[in-house]
């Protein structure tokens, strides 16, 4: 009995501090800069679950259904630099990040997106001011319409000036992101 009480208590306190954030991403380092700025703005003690979500249409063929593998799809989309940059962020905000996951959303309808958001218990969506995703894969699609149409809370971050940078696509981009130019 006492143990159960403790569990409930523990979950309550955890819930108060824990937050799940969805970040739409094109798997570029620039989109991670948003996460960095967002994390900087969070009060100390918040535990975050970050989901980096990418919209990717599936082909209708039966073979692609048969061999459907999310991890393989993500592996194809994500560059080594992106992974490294994720690790840099996780190391920096080790005490704030509870989990950081890459995921793909393959649905077509608004209902599917709402379902996804509910299933993952998403509290907030983090969007950059300059939202201009560049997709490498031609099956990728923009998640913004779905996010706007859902009733999720949206946090907009960043400045409106786009600074030209030589280090595009390298891990270095994360260190001097346009949103955090001081």
């Amino acid at each position: 009995m006492r143990v159960q009480q403790f569990c409930i208590l523990n979950r309550k306190t955890k819930n108060a501090m824990e937050k799940t954030v969805l970040v739409p991403t094109d798997f570029s380092i620039a989109s991670l800069s948003i996460v960095r700025t967002y994390l900087n703005a969070q009060p100390a003690g918040t535990k975050l679950n970050i989901i980096l979500l990418h919209g990717l249409h599936q082909t209708d063929s039966i073979t692609s259904l048969l061999f459907f593998s999310k991890s393989k799809m993500i592996q194809e989309l994500v560059s080594k630099e992106f992974d490294e940059a994720c690790h840099v962020l996780r190391n920096k905000f080790a005490s704030q990040i509870n989990s950081m996951r890459k995921d793909v959303f393959t649905g077509f309808t608004q209902a599917a997106f709402n379902q996804y958001a509910e299933a993952k218990k998403i509290d907030e969506v983090c969007l950059p001011v300059l939202y201009n995703p560049k997709f490498k894969n031609r099956n990728s699609f923009d998640l913004l319409p779905y996010i706007k149409a859902s009733n999720l809370a949206i946090e907009t971050i960043g400045s409106e000036v786009d600074v030209p940078m030589p280090e595009k696509g390298k891990v270095a981009e994360l260190f001097f992101s346009r949103v955090s130019v001081s």
Partner: protein
């Protein structure tokens, strides 16, 4: 190419031995078989001849007809009959036939005997007819011995010859094929001399012994080039950094000595000279510290060191040499776990490499602020140096690691094009990676990845 010829010869001998053994075996077994076969044939002839000639009874007429019709005459076939009289030997008959007596003795004793001489074959049997006991000797020339064996010999010799040629070709090709990578390495190594130490052997990422050799060789070249360049680097730094205060001292003294001055003026001059001399002293110390690695060759120990600590040291050294530099170390992405900042490396070499990169950043941005960031993933430590200087033209980016190369927009700045190749070599020695990205007029970003040392707490 001695080893190549050796391999070829070994292969060739092996091939040849096998072929000769094979053909010898074939030749012997075939001729042996044919001899036995021929003796059997003669035996049948002898038996039938004896039956037809000696047993003159019913049916022998047909037998003779049958024999003449179906038995092909062998070359020089002849059947002889000798009656056996007990106590008498066949010495005369043997002499007449030109066969040894032992042949007859064998027939008498064992019932049959064989003898051959110059392709004439003799088979003797003991035959018991109604008229008494006889020795029947059938003799003929062996057709096989006459024709087939010569043909077989010729064929085998031809086959051996052909196989020899063929195996020689294969051995030659194979030995070439095996030693091709080695020859390539030799050729490439011959090209490398002290003028083009930056050349490397190309390595296909196979895990065989040869790529091991290539890797080892490249590693050695890295080390040699690094020690060459550290010396060059010192000379270029020294000539540049030490000349400025010296020029100032000489100029000041020269001007002052041109006429008689007041005491105040002398004091002022000596103050300036002292100031410059102090700068000179500071710079010399810093430069000697940087050069230390190059001159004592045994000082190449790899220890664990903390990157952030190293960067602060580098900053201090650069500020000693160039007091106008503005270096900002950005720790906003510093990992919470300090273990991730520890790498295995040689402090002096890395100090040299980083100070090269950062002082270049200061130099080519006219002492504008230089940002140095540190971060770490689970495998690598990242050091990122960003300046807002003149940048590097995009077309020239691929040449920046060539020794003595200087970009076309660097004419205003002093330098020898030694620092960056040296830095890359040092990073290479640490299994790291250096990535330079740049935009003309916007600035340059240098990213250095060094593998984490994976130390336990």
């Amino acid at each position: 190419m001695k080893l190549q010829i050796k391999t070829m010869l070994i292969l060739l001998t092996a091939f040849l031995t096998i072929i000769v053994l094979f053909s010898g075996f074939v030749y012997l077994s075939v001729s042996n078989y044919s001899y036995e076969d021929f003796y059997k044939l003669l035996e049948i002839r002898a038996v039938t001849a004896a039956k037809a000639e000696l047993d003159q009874e019913g049916g022998s007429e047909e037998m003779i007809a049958l024999r003449n019709q179906f038995f092909e005459k062998l070359p020089q076939e002849k059947d002889r009959y000798y009656r056996i009289t007990p106590g008498e030997s066949f010495t005369d008959e043997a002499k007449a036939l030109d066969v040894p007596v032992s042949f007859f003795n064998a027939v008498l004793k064992g019932g049959s005997g064989e003898y051959s001489k110059n392709s004439m074959f003799y088979k003797g049997i003991r035959y018991k007819s109604k008229l008494g006991e006889y020795v029947v000797v059938a003799s003929a020339q062996n057709y096989f011995e006459l024709h087939h064996s010569a043909y077989l010999r010729r064929t085998l010799i031809l086959a051996i010859g052909a196989a020899f040629l063929f195996s020689a070709l294969i051995a030659l090709y194979f030995s070439r094929y095996v030693f091709r990578p080695l020859r390539k390495i030799t050729d490439r190594v011959k090209e490398i001399s002290s003028e083009n130490l930056h050349l490397r052997l190309e390595n296909n990422m196979n895990n065989d012994e040869l790529s091991d050799l290539t890797r080892t060789f490249n590693n050695m070249l890295d080390r040699i080039e690094t020690s060459f360049e550290t010396q060059n680097n010192f000379i270029s730094n020294a000539s540049h950094e030490l000349r400025t205060p010296l020029t100032a001292i000489i100029g000041e003294a020269d001007v002052t000595l041109s006429k008689i001055r007041t005491t105040d003026e002398y004091i002022e001059t000596i103050k300036v000279i002292l100031d410059e001399a102090e700068t000179l002293d500071r710079k010399t110390k810093a430069l000697l510290f940087l050069a230390q690695t190059g001159f004592n060759g045994k000082n190449q120990k790899f220890d664990k060191l903390r990157i952030d600590q190293l960067l602060w040291d580098v900053k201090e050294t650069i500020e000693k040499i160039n007091t106008n530099s503005r270096i900002h170390i950005d720790t906003s992405l510093l990992p919470e776990n300090p273990l991730k900042l520890k790498i295995k490396g040689n402090e002096q070499l890395l100090h040299l490499a980083l100070s090269n990169i950062i002082s270049n950043a200061c130099k080519y941005s006219n002492n504008r602020q230089v940002n140095v960031s540190i971060g770490a993933s689970d495998q690598n430590v990242f050091i990122i140096v960003k300046d807002h200087g003149i940048g590097i033209p995009e077309k020239e980016l691929k040449y920046i690691y060539d020794p003595f190369f200087r970009a076309s927009n660097t004419l205003k700045y002093e330098g020898y094009g030694i620092g960056l190749p040296l830095t890359r070599n040092i990073i290479r020695l640490h299994n790291g990676e250096i990535i330079v990205t740049s935009m003309v007029g916007e600035g340059t970003t240098v990213q250095i990845n060094l593998p984490i040392g994976q130390f336990e707490l």
